[in-house]
Symmetry: C2
Subunit: 254 residues, 2 copies
């Protein structure tokens, strides 16, 4: 049965989408059946995977207007499937407030995917509103990308508090799968300070792999490619491949 993992951090621009897309590609490369769910109305994960928006997707899934099988599109070149985001999703946050079982709608919608996939990875928007709460209720665990910057540290306590609330009220099994440090710049002291700080707070869950700041990672989305297709032999692909292996090892997948 599929493991469902949400990529969460309400701080903006920390590498949630970049990590969700490249982890999806890394796991697919290792033979896993992967579905990437794009819950961000900006649709960055959709376009970065080379999938054109259009047709049913995350919005229809949240509303229960269409089954999962009609809401997925294949990112053929990358070897994984995507539940695309579209502009209608921007309205979902307010629409959900008045709906029945408003926090559990994604959990219900993703249920059919449990047998079909090994992993369902959910890219979240930079907020802790109802769309993200839906992801936290549907997921078994979270991966928290943390940018190696001071402002990104400040937000970590908000993430932990929200996870605690979700665990108490909506999803008792929710746990932290791992914390991954992103955009590490070896030329600055600040980067190393953030790494040390995060490792001391998240001793057991911080991944060994640290993702370096690499301009190739920010170029790849403009071609709709994962780093494995854009620059397969570079250090960014090596880092996300190492992260993919760490994730598989933690999940006990040989």
């Amino acid at each position: 049965a599929a493991r469902i993992v949400a990529f969460v951090n309400q701080k903006g621009g920390v590498g949630k989408t970049t990590t969700a897309v490249n982890v999806a590609a890394a796991l697919a490369k290792h033979g896993q059946r992967v579905c990437l769910v794009d819950l961000d109305p900006q649709g960055n994960a959709t376009s970065a995977s080379g999938v054109a928006p259009g047709g049913s997707g995350a919005y229809e899934l949240l509303r229960g207007d269409a089954p999962l099988a009609e809401c997925i599109a294949e990112a053929e070149e990358e070897g994984f499937w995507v539940v695309p985001a579209g502009p209608a999703l921007a309205g979902a946050e307010v629409e959900l407030v008045g709906m029945m079982a408003r926090e559990r709608r994604l959990a219900i919608g993703l249920e059919p995917g449990r047998e079909r996939f090994d992993w369902m990875l959910i890219d979240c928007p930079p907020s802790l509103g109802l769309i993200t709460i839906n992801a936290l209720t549907a997921a078994d665990s979270v991966i928290i990308p943390v940018q190696c910057e001071y402002m990104a540290l400040e937000g970590l306590s908000h993430v932990s508090e929200t996870l605690e609330l979700v665990r108490k009220n909506l999803n008792p099994a929710m746990r932290i799968f791992g914390v991954v440090l992103t955009m590490f710049d070896s030329r600055t002291r600040l980067s190393q300070q953030v790494v040390d700080e995060v490792r001391s707070h998240f001793e057991e869950t911080a991944f060994e792999t640290v993702i370096p700041r690499a301009v190739r990672l920010s170029e790849a989305p403009s071609y709709g490619q994962s780093i494995f297709r854009y620059e397969p032999n570079g250090r960014a692909a090596a880092a996300y491949d190492a992260l993919g292996r760490e994730i598989l090892a933690r999940a006990g997948v040989p």
Copy 2:
């Protein structure tokens, strides 16, 4: 009477807070009376200005629980005032949905500031929900920070659509004060491509000043200082000073 300007872009991590704080400091340096309003529950603008959270602030102002005079704190070292954000603000998004005049609550709360300040600058969270809609209803104009990255370009159409909706339904006078390019990295082709693309889309409103990527800008918030206190003679301070002058020139302030 004060000009009210919102710093808006639902794409995360593009430099909204960094620009709002350093523009506030630049305008204060030029003798303007400035109030920075922190509408992001993360409170980055509050801490980056050296103001401790606590007491009344943006949440109380939105709810109408306290007048503006009780919701402001002075960033003495920087020479401007701050309406601080606190963790309670995270709940405001859902609380606002059921309130009377839910989009106009900030406009009402900031009214007394019109006579007291020359500028009221609003830092927004990375979303287009009710908190940001409140900022767009209260403001006369917006400044849109755009990071020199591909993914930041994708979101610009969402910003323009939202501004159009606000203009039609809530605030007919709303206009774009300017678009500022941030984190420009002269070593990458991508940065220049984004600059060219944005200048062609926002011909009249893009600022001449481009903010370079500079690690000092990401270090300053950890000391609660603007760039003018942290590294007054560097290129980042020079860039934000130039932006401050451009803003004053556009506003017709000698």
